[in-house]
């Protein structure tokens, strides 16, 4: 069965490879190419963060949490506003100390929120097909949008991580003028990498992490050796809520906290399709591929396409991820690392 599909997968891989390498030869400076690549990687890392929470929940409980994106927005809002209000409430100095306390509070809020979503929305629907869950979590997204803005307010807020917004130039020795990267993106990537590392250690080295992996593998077997399923799910959702908070913090610092953040809810879909619903490395790789692909398509594919078809501007980014996911679906629905589904009569 696998051999039948290998042909198209290889073709897809070759096309991706060409797409990745081709811009290198369009005559633009190699430094510029590297800039776009790095920019794409960093954006992709942020997508991965969102997809990570999604995969975690699915791995442990088989539930599709498409509200993850909405949770990210909610978390970012909570963080931004609490950081603003805390100095007035408890006299803690504004800036990083307020932010740190806000972070702790927000973690609590997110854990509680994640638990509520799981209990109220997803557990009753657990037997239904994923499309119903998708629509239910779309409903949750809308609800959180309105609710979040009611509680936290509807302006655009800032999260100030204390990083300067000045761009820096790296690798000045290798490329003329150096490569332009944003400090924020760098910090974001570092934070994301740290988070992944933390999660990896958690899953591999701790007893709870082992229990989580057992539950992900086989609910009944895990139960039969005494692992308390309900408690595990609460923990998983708490972790997902925490991941949403970190993602919200990072994205919010970069973009400002605004509604478009919950569009991330939809973007997570192509990422997990590419990476497979049950794979953490897949979520990371999927996010990176999408991040890079989008940027590359917009920057390098855009201009020639615009010229060729006499278009009124770019915007390939808006659909690139989805079309890429569609191609993957036709060729390899289980994603790069996911498990195959077999339909039996």
């Amino acid at each position: 069965m696998a051999t039948k599909k290998n042909g198209p997968v290889i073709t897809l891989g070759v096309i991706l490879g060409i797409g990745l390498a081709a811009p290198r030869f369009t005559g633009s400076a190699p430094g510029f190419y590297l800039e776009v690549l790095l920019g794409g990687l960093m954006a992709g890392g942020l997508y991965s963060l969102v997809a990570l929470g999604f995969v975690l929940i699915f791995k442990a409980s088989g539930v599709f949490n498409f509200a993850q994106g909405a949770m990210v927005l909610f978390a970012a809002l909570a963080l931004a506003r609490l950081a603003e209000w805390l100095p007035g409430w408890v006299g803690i100095p504004a800036g990083l100390p307020a932010l740190a306390l806000a972070f702790v509070l927000a973690t609590g809020i997110m854990v509680a929120l994640a638990w509520v979503i799981e209990r109220v929305v997803l557990r009753p629907l657990v037997a239904q097909d994923p499309a119903a869950l998708l629509m239910a979590t779309l409903g949750v997204t809308f609800f959180l949008d309105g609710f979040g803005q009611t509680i936290w307010g509807s302006d655009i807020y800032k999260i100030d991580l204390g990083i300067s917004k000045d761009p820096t130039f790296i690798l000045e020795s290798m490329f003329q003028g150096g490569i332009l990267v944003s400090k924020e993106d760098l910090v974001a990537t570092v934070i994301a990498a740290l988070l992944v590392l933390m999660l990896a250690i958690f899953f591999q080295k701790t007893a709870t992490g082992r229990a989580l992996r057992a539950v992900a593998d086989d609910h009944q077997a895990a139960q039969s050796i005494g692992i308390p399923l309900n408690r595990i799910w609460v923990i998983v959702w708490a972790v997902a809520g925490f991941v949403a908070l970190v993602a919200g913090m990072v994205w919010g610092a970069k973009l400002g906290v605004q509604f478009s953040l919950s569009q991330l809810a939809l973007k997570a879909l192509p990422v997990v399709i590419l990476g497979g619903f049950t794979s953490i490395p897949g979520a990371i790789l999927g996010g990176l591929i999408i991040g890079v692909g989008e940027k590359m398509a917009e920057v390098f594919l855009g201009p020639p396409v615009i010229k060729l078809f006499d278009l009124a501007g770019g915007g390939i980014e808006n659909w690139f991820a989805y079309v890429l996911a569609l191609l993957f679906l036709m060729v390899r629905p289980e994603g790069l690392f996911g498990e195959k589904h077999i339909d039996r009569v």
Binding site: A131, A136, L138, F142, F147, P270, D310, L311, N318, M330
Partner: protein
């Protein structure tokens, strides 16, 4: 005791398969149509036509289309507004390049073009389903958004990216006032609803429902999945296309691509979830709900403000989101077949009333 079927016998199959089998239903529906066509024009204000009735009717049409695909055939479409966009732009270009073409012909052609696009974007459904198909339809939505925003030919090289339409003329009758628009749209909706009801009770409708309920068994008894799914996409896109053309020409007058964005698609989806999937009546109920709720909330807020409570106007839109979201979740959990099902259950009880059983 009013809703009794006593004495209403069906003596042949023709009578048995009528759309409106119970006499009371027939009176009700005909009465409703008569009221809508004859009384409404005198009762309702211009505002009611423009803000409530016309959008309600057009959106019901699109909702019926989506319901045929999702509720009856069990597929999924997260980007249905894209088909509305295709219909609207197709109609616009037809009018621009073939002036003098009869408007009904324009509508039908726009619908057919949309149907073709629907078949094309329905092709993935032959390989993937459920959630994955949803992502494919999202790809369609965003791609179509981009095409109409960027490919200048579609907007007739308009510098601003938006298009405007002239007043519609049909057989010498100028459709310029809200009342005339309303009557025309009402006629279209009545015809299309009848068509949908016919399709659903015919063998194509049954094959759609078979695909929804158990596609493997359907294939085994000889139903061709490809034919069933693609006709569902085609008919559904046809409805959406006509609705889109009506929306653009008779409701908006001029529009830009963002008029048919993902928010519209999601609203359509919410309509059929709340109203009832797999029910034509449900499409109307859902449409009414989605059109009326924001207006209702606005009025309530104004009232509250008058009473002294200081509620911001943005609150209305937040509440709208919250109520929609909560209702979606509620209906999906409690009654996936929506308000239409609740209504059907109520009717059952009504048949017995005042007896308990």
């Amino acid at each position: 005791m009013f809703y009794r079927e006593n004495g209403q016998f069906k003596s042949n199959y023709t009578e048995d398969q009528q759309i409106l089998g119970i006499r009371q239903d027939r009176w009700f529906i005909f009465g409703l149509i008569a009221f809508a066509a004859c009384a409404m024009p005198y009762i309702a204000s211009d505002y009611m036509f423009r803000a409530i009735l016309i959008p309600f009717l057009i959106v019901s049409l699109a909702a019926i289309g989506l319901n045929l695909l999702v509720g009856y055939c069990g597929q999924i479409s997260l980007g249905h507004a894209a088909f509305m966009a295709v219909g609207a732009y197709a109609a616009y270009n037809l009018v621009v390049h073939f002036p003098g073409l009869n408007f009904i012909v324009v509508l039908v052609l726009a619908g057919l073009i949309s149907a073709l696009v629907g078949i094309f974007f329905g092709l993935p459904s032959l390989q993937i389903k459920g959630l994955y198909l949803g992502v494919a339809t999202l790809a369609a939505q965003f791609f179509v958004d981009w095409v109409f925003a960027r490919v200048k030919w579609f907007t007739n090289y308009s510098p601003s990216g938006s298009v405007s339409t002239a007043t519609v003329e049909l057989f010498g009758w100028t459709i310029d006032t809200p009342i005339k628009k309303y009557l025309f749209i009402l006629a279209v909706v009545i015809v299309f609803t009848l068509m949908a009801k016919n399709l659903v009770r015919g063998h194509i409708g049954r094959s759609w429902m078979a695909m929804r309920d158990m596609d493997v068994a359907a294939e085994v008894i000889g139903i061709r999945p490809m034919y069933a799914k693609l006709t569902a996409f085609a008919v559904s896109a046809f409805y959406a296309g006509v609705a889109g053309a009506l929306w653009g020409f008779l409701h908006l007058g001029s529009w830009e691509p963002a008029a048919f964005s993902i928010n519209f698609s999601l609203n359509l989806l919410f309509m059929i979830i709340i109203g009832g999937m797999g029910s034509i009546l449900g499409s109307f109920i859902g449409a009414a709900f989605i059109v009326l709720l924001p207006l209702f909330l606005n009025q309530t807020l104004l009232l509250l403000n008058k009473l002294g409570m200081n509620v911001g106007t943005a609150m209305a839109s937040h509440l709208e989101f919250m109520i929609f979201g909560a209702l979606i979740v509620f209906f999906l959990i409690v009654e996936p077949l929506g308000i239409a099902r609740l209504w059907a259950v109520a009717k059952e009880k009504l048949r017995l009333w005042p007896f308990p059983h």
